[in-house]
Amino acid sequence: MVHTTVGQPVGQVAGPLKVTGRATYTADIRLPNMAYGAVVRSTLPHARIVSIDTSRALAMPGVLAVITGKDIPPGRVGRRIRDLPILAVDVVRFVGERVAAVVAEDQATAEAAALAVEVEYEELPAALTMRDALAPGAPILHPDLASYDGLPGAPPQQSNVLSRRTYGYGDVDEGFRQADVIIQRRYTVPRQHQGYLEPHACLVSTAPDGTAEVWLTNKTPFQAQEQAAKALGIPKEWLKVHVTPIGGDFGGKGSVMDVPVAYHLSKACGRPVRMVMSYVEEFTAAASRHAAQITMKTGVKRDGTIVAHQVRALFDSGAYGAFKPSPTLELMGNTRLGGAYRMENVAVESLIVYTNTFPAGHMRAPGLPQAIFALESQLDALARTIEMDPVEFRRRNLIREGEATPAGEQWVQVRAIETLEAAARAAGWGTPLPENVGRGVAVSEHGAGAGASTVQAGLDERGFYLRTGAPDTGTGSHTIMQQVAAETLGVPHHAIRIETSHTLAFPFDFGVGGSRVTHVYGRAALAAAASLRDTILQRAAAAFDLPTDQLGWEGGQLRRPDGRLVDPFTVIGPVEVEETYDSAGAPNVTGFCAQVAEVRVDPETGKVEVLRIVSAHDTGQVINPIGHEGQIAGGVIQGLGYALMEELPVVDGYVATQSFAEYKIPAMGDIPELEIVLLPEPTGPGPFAAKSIGETPNVPTAAAIANAVEDAVGVRIVDLPITAEKVFRALQRKHEHGHHHH
């Protein structure tokens, strides 16, 4: 199909506003009489609050109010399970937990007053690691877990396990008996912060009747409205939540963060209250990717057949589960612990574990980089052990059409092997490399997200428009909707303006997440645009007293039987339609990604330099090539950071990396040559057969790099990030081992 706007590299709707600094982010909003909030946070990982003395803070000039957990109605926050108190009452469970809050005339006074609040604690034994938390006799973080709202399934026993899931089939013990080679390894992956430029911010303006207007940095404003209302114990209709521009999300902006606190501060002082998290707070108390320990035991035959795969995965929830939205509280990556490979016997167990560290949340493909790093490292090691080429090993074992994954997922139009081969071809797989340079491959996939969403389309005196309840988190989702509608209406993309609606004037909107935007909002925009065109044609035909088929539609205008083009607004005036797209019944497809990394390892220092990455995608129709390429490049860079440098180590309960100076994400010089290979086949469920791209390219990168390191210098790193020191130590052990045998 030939498209005019779809597939064109058009710029983002909000691009000019953003690059000229005119986009109004939440922190940019100023309301008359606005006051400023700051949070007092716990300095101990697990403690009983003995007393809180707010008198010094209250006495400071410019301080309007100070609140503690006992000053407000009890309320807990959560996207699913509500286990996180708005402000701690009696107990704190991690360093950085909200203990009290201050509102003042200006930010500096609020911060100074927060420092003046004195909290007396009685320290309790803390479980800082999952090992501590699962040990017999461990301190139980949530003795009242069974009473929490939103807990799925049966109340668990007294333990620090928040959720447990098992799946599998066959008999792994029998499988291991048939295996020629068995490898068992434990993979460890750290917490990763989303690294967005814009920290969490909110502005809450309460009225005396308890209703409030809310601006916040959130990708799911309608869900935020519900979360905040439940935590505050008020009807959600009391909260008018605005859709704001988002300065980067990467999965991290799904929680209400300071909104309930700001609501109470606003009530306390009778003024609008603005709260912006510092980056210390972001790194210490936001919603970073879960750390995990994944133990895999896998048996293969010499011909590469995977006869048994046994997994125990532990994901570190931190002190609360509040930032996990899934009804089962599990991470999607749980279902990828066997990937998309044919395995004869499978037994997977995964646990989400409470520890006295900051709560983990969602980040770009939740659970997947953890699972795929472990799995693709494990499979690579197996291939090398049976002396089979790693690409060939995967080619033999990737599922084909008609087969299900170890977790039981089944797709149509499975293009795993084609994607793998495309990456291998582009990377020159098998061609010789210099000394200390190696190649590694890894495969993953992510389907297009599902659900229902509504889009309104209309025509007014200013022209065509679309209205949505979803923010553009920076990915270009509004531009996608614009292009899809423009294609349908036969107008240039810029002839359609994009409007957003707050939560009181629009049907419930699920919001951004799970790679659903292009699919669901794209299809809703498509349907709304088609419905708008048809409605205009019908009304205009009635106005002209013509049969509908006598009116043509050209470039957004009406063509009358005499050949004249007429502006529809002059004929029928304003018109607006609303369409809801529900993905139920859409074909179940996924998008594969295969990456090949080429690295050079400094054999003396262990430093890994990534020279080149090839990223191949089974991607469907690309709606906007700029946005699509940006998602892949950004994802690969985020994956590279995860592989080589990003981590939030917790020392004595404190996050040791509290700024972007210490929490390292790749800088320009670290970014390697990137070659993108697309297999554009119109197989997606989205508009014009689009698939998703956002949560695919960041997933296999770490494994591809780890596999390349082994290819380069013969050492296998099983714990991320792959620092020079880890490689250096592994090389030392290898040399000692070598000398031992000589």
Binding site: S51, A65, V66, K70, E120, T605, D652, Q658, A667, M668
Partner: protein, 361 residues
């Protein structure tokens, strides 16, 4: 609800007034975490890295707002000395601001007065004279890395300047700033040590000249007296049989602080290393001059034996600590590896070859 606002409904205060014990860990305020690490090491009791924010009154996440401060912009060095002397204990000099402004925003430094010296043109000297290369205090990293004379004759300065911060930082950061900030991990001091730079200063009692290896006292501290400022650095004229090189190890390629950095200078006489100087970053409370390693090279033929001896001596003189960025053991290993590389490449440059300026490993 405890509140002093006029509008809200009055609610009883429910905090319990008791005696408040200091609940936070007793931590000294630190200049920056690098300094802190080295101070710990000096005290001989390494402990886990503690985040900077926690030291700020024992609370987390607040204190991001800068305080108000006075601003002075003298137009001559003598005027700068007099205003600096007048506000000696409450003022900080600012040039590029790439360290100071960040420290002020973090609340690590809270000067009451900031003295901006960027309007003093006499501090911008960059020329080779009979006695050597004169680098004014305000010469920026970006100027060094792009200056044809420095690229040709003093490439070690390019090696080190090019590693500082990012391009944007290097367009602001000055050579005196990178030195006077006195971070043990800074990149230009080892290169300046290797080149035996002389630090020229002016203070209320007049000018003086301090050899760079005697300039640093501790983390964030130098020999500068109250009211004294650095005017320039003078490096002896490069000779054809001399060469110098700097290389560091960092987790990422830019916007990073050396885990270890080594600068080396040699003067050859045929195959013999007639003289050598070695400066090392991030393994000691100050930038370290590795005198024992220099002695191990002096008068020896360049070769494996000399490298082994120099590397061992450099390691022995280092006092690295363990932290999240690297263990002491790994740092010692890096001193070994990087000392060998720095000396080898310095020798290669002395022979007319070696890596091009700024092309470090």
């Amino acid at each position: 609800m405890s509140s002093r606002a006029a509008t809200p409904t009055p609610t009883a205060l429910r905090w319990r007034p008791r005696s408040i014990e200091a609940f936070y860990r007793p931590l000294r305020r630190q200049l920056d975490h690098d300094s802190e690490r080295c101070v710990q090491s000096q005290r001989g009791r390494p402990r886990p890295f503690l985040p900077r924010a926690v030291t700020r009154g024992g609370q987390i996440g607040v204190g991001e707002s800068m305080r108000r401060f006075g601003y002075l912009a003298p137009k001559s060095v003598s005027e700068a000395v007099s205003v600096l002397a007048e506000h000696a204990n409450v003022a900080k000099l600012v040039a590029g601001g790439t360290d100071l402004v960040v420290q002020m925003k973090d609340g690590v430094r809270r000067p009451q007065v900031v003295i901006d010296i960027t309007g003093i043109d006499e501090l911008r000297t960059l020329e080779e004279r009979d006695d050597g290369l004169h680098l004014g205090a305000l010469v920026r990293m970006g100027e060094i890395e792009n200056h044809p004379l420095i690229i040709e004759k003093y490439p070690v300065l390019v090696d080190s300047a090019k590693l500082v911060g990012s391009k944007q930082v290097r367009n602001l950061a000055t050579i005196a700033g990178n030195t006077c900030n006195a971070s043990p991990g800074a990149d230009t001091p080892p290169a300046l040590i290797a080149l035996d730079a002389q630090v020229h200063t002016l203070g209320p009692t007049g000018p003086r000249v301090v050899p760079i290896d005697q300039f640093f006292v501790g983390p964030g501290r130098t020999v500068l007296e109250p009211g004294e400022l650095v005017t320039k650095f003078v490096v002896r004229k490069a000779a054809p049989n001399e060469g110098a090189y700097y290389e560091r190890h960092t987790p990422r390629k830019e916007l990073d602080i050396a885990v270890v950095g080594v600068g080396a200078w040699v003067r050859l006489n045929g195959e013999t290393i007639e003289d050598a100087r070695i400066g090392i970053a991030a393994v000691y409370p100050t930038p370290l001059r590795a005198t024992d390693a220099e002695a191990a090279l002096r008068g020896k033929p360049f070769g494996q034996a000399a490298l082994d001896a120099a590397a061992a001596a450099a390691v022995a003189q280092s006092r690295p600590i363990s932290d999240v960025r690297g263990s002491a053991e790994f740092r010692r290993w890096l001193v070994d590896v990087l000392t060998r590389r720095a000396v080898t490449n310095a020798v290669a440059r002395a022979r007319g070859g070696g890596p091009r300026a700024g092309e470090t490993h």
